[in-house]
């Protein structure tokens, strides 16, 4: 190899025969210092995005399957921040921008652990922990959403039930508004909240039809639910246990036809010696629902 003088001048290889020029250059402190300064490296491009995502100042999104078809799931280091119909990625990004206002980047897939947790949640496992990023929302909204998380898969509760359970029994309409602003539908199951007359109510992730689809996929018998509601019955009691439930409560669904006692109001049931179920708590919002 022929030696060529170059910048920085410390460049050398041990097999050089003539070392004279190197000695001259490396013995000048400025050259070594200049060479050290040249060791500066640009950061890998993904570094900035990774940092901002991890601290929750930017979000990533990818598609996941759901009972409603492909959904877009966005997340950051603090948790899941957004769930939306995946259909048109540009529209999804636009809605995210409008509502959340952070940079959003599409990636290939939801991280394995998060995807598995969401899948388990949608399958009805309420014990699986899913971090949710609910920053920027009011305490009232968050209280409504956390309460909705307590409704088991395949069951529904009236808007008034949520209002009563979070200590604002008169805020039924505000509960509806908060549910319509749910940033993470399906994971926070706002679809499990219906009108007290048993009609299905609104749904942010594609309207009432989508809500019916999700509830059916969760094993709720909508025809049965609506027929009970149409006949004016709001509660079901068991003649054997003397416990009275909301109609979709898993305890109510275990009552055999022979022992099922429908009631139009909780007062009537209690007058007959029935006590409210501790699981579905039919007393919450009962006055408004009656």
């Amino acid at each position: 190899m022929t030696r060529t003088r170059s910048q920085p001048k410390i460049a050398t290889a041990p097999d050089h025969a003539a070392m004279g020029p190197i000695t001259g250059s490396t013995n000048r402190p400025d050259d070594l210092i200049a060479a050290l300064a040249e060791l500066a490296s640009p950061a890998p491009e993904r570094l900035a995005r990774a940092v901002l995502t991890q601290v929750g100042l930017a979000d990533l999104w990818a598609e996941l399957p759901s009972p409603l078809g492909a959904i877009g799931v966005a997340w950051n280091g603090r948790g899941i921040s957004w769930i939306d119909r995946a259909g048109d990625p540009d529209l999804l990004a636009e809605r995210f921008e409008d509502r959340v206002g952070r940079p959003l980047h599409r990636v290939d897939r939801v991280p394995e652990r998060l995807a598995r947790a969401i899948e388990a949640r949608l399958a009805g496992n309420r014990r699986i922990r899913i971090p949710l990023d609910l920053r920027g929302h009011t305490e009232f909204e968050v209280a409504v959403w956390l309460k909705a998380l307590e409704i088991p898969r395949g069951e529904v509760r009236p808007y008034g039930w949520i209002a009563a359970e979070i200590g604002h029994p008169k805020a039924v309409r505000a509960v509806g508004t908060a549910l319509s602003h749910n940033p993470v539908p399906l994971v926070v199951p706002c679809h499990r909240v219906v009108r007290s007359d048993g009609s299905i109510g609104q749904y942010s992730l594609g309207g009432p039809e989508a809500k019916r689809t999700v509830l059916s996929a969760e094993g709720l018998d909508l025809v049965e639910m609506e027929s009970v509601a149409r006949s004016g019955f709001r509660y079901l009691g068991s003649a054997t246990t003397h416990v009275v439930c909301l109609p979709t409560c898993h305890h109510a669904r275990r009552i055999t036809d022979r022992h099922r006692r429908p009631f139009r109001s909780l007062n009537l049931a209690m007058r007959e010696g029935f006590r409210p179920c501790r699981s579905c708590r039919p007393g919450s919002g009962a006055a408004l629902a009656a």
Partner: protein
């Protein structure tokens, strides 16, 4: 430094809106510090990322006055160096010391002047690699001082503050480090290299 002062003021006012600018301004520096200290790009990237995330978490816990008084450059360097040291121990645990030598940087090389001939370019890259490798061969404290002082361009007092050492110690470590570097870069010329004693830091 002026921009860092302005940045600190913005961080004090609104951490979330100003933090992306901190990442822009400092990510490359912190990555450089980590990669020159560790010699392993993947580990360095994780260290730099972790350092910035920790910086965010720390800033989120500070009140506005404390953020405004922060000297961001040495502060961030301290976080990075501390994480890099911990990482170094883990790397040393999983890699026998004899294997450390072949660890060289892969990937990025600096842009070269267009007029440089191909052999010159190759030599320049080779020189950079050699220097990076020589740096990795130095004892940790000396390497920390050299990386901050010359790779990142800290002043002696900034280096001292970032590493929590007296300035005299930094001067001695930098001086000795340069001499060792020179010697390891010209192994056949130990006698001449030793004569570099009058070099100043």
């Amino acid at each position: 430094m002026d921009t860092d002062l302005a940045l600190a003021a913005r961080l004090a006012t609104n951490l979330d809106t100003a933090f992306p600018a901190l990442v822009d301004a400092h990510a490359a520096r912190l990555y450089t510090i980590a990669v020159r200290y560790l010699g392993v790009p993947g580990d360095a990237e994780e260290v730099a990322q972790d350092a910035l995330v920790r910086a965010y978490a720390a800033l989120a816990g500070y009140d506005a006055a404390r953020i405004r008084e922060l000297n961001l450059r040495p502060w961030l360097a301290t976080i990075t160096i501390n994480l890099a040291r911990n990482r170094r121990r883990r790397i040393a645990d999983r890699t026998p010391p004899v294997r450390l030598d072949p660890l060289v940087e892969v990937g990025w090389e600096p842009s070269t002047p267009a007029r440089m001939s191909p052999p010159a370019v190759a030599e320049r890259h080779e020189g950079r690699r050699e220097l990076a490798r020589a740096l990795l061969g130095l004892p940790g404290p000396m390497r920390e001082a050299l990386v901050l002082r010359y790779v990142d361009g800290f002043s002696v007092s900034e280096t001292a503050s970032a590493l929590a050492r007296p300035e005299g110690t930094i001067k001695a470590q930098v001086h000795r480090g340069l001499a060792l570097l020179r010697r390891s870069l010209t192994p056949q010329l130990d006698v001449q290299a030793d004569s570099a004693g009058e070099m100043t830091a």
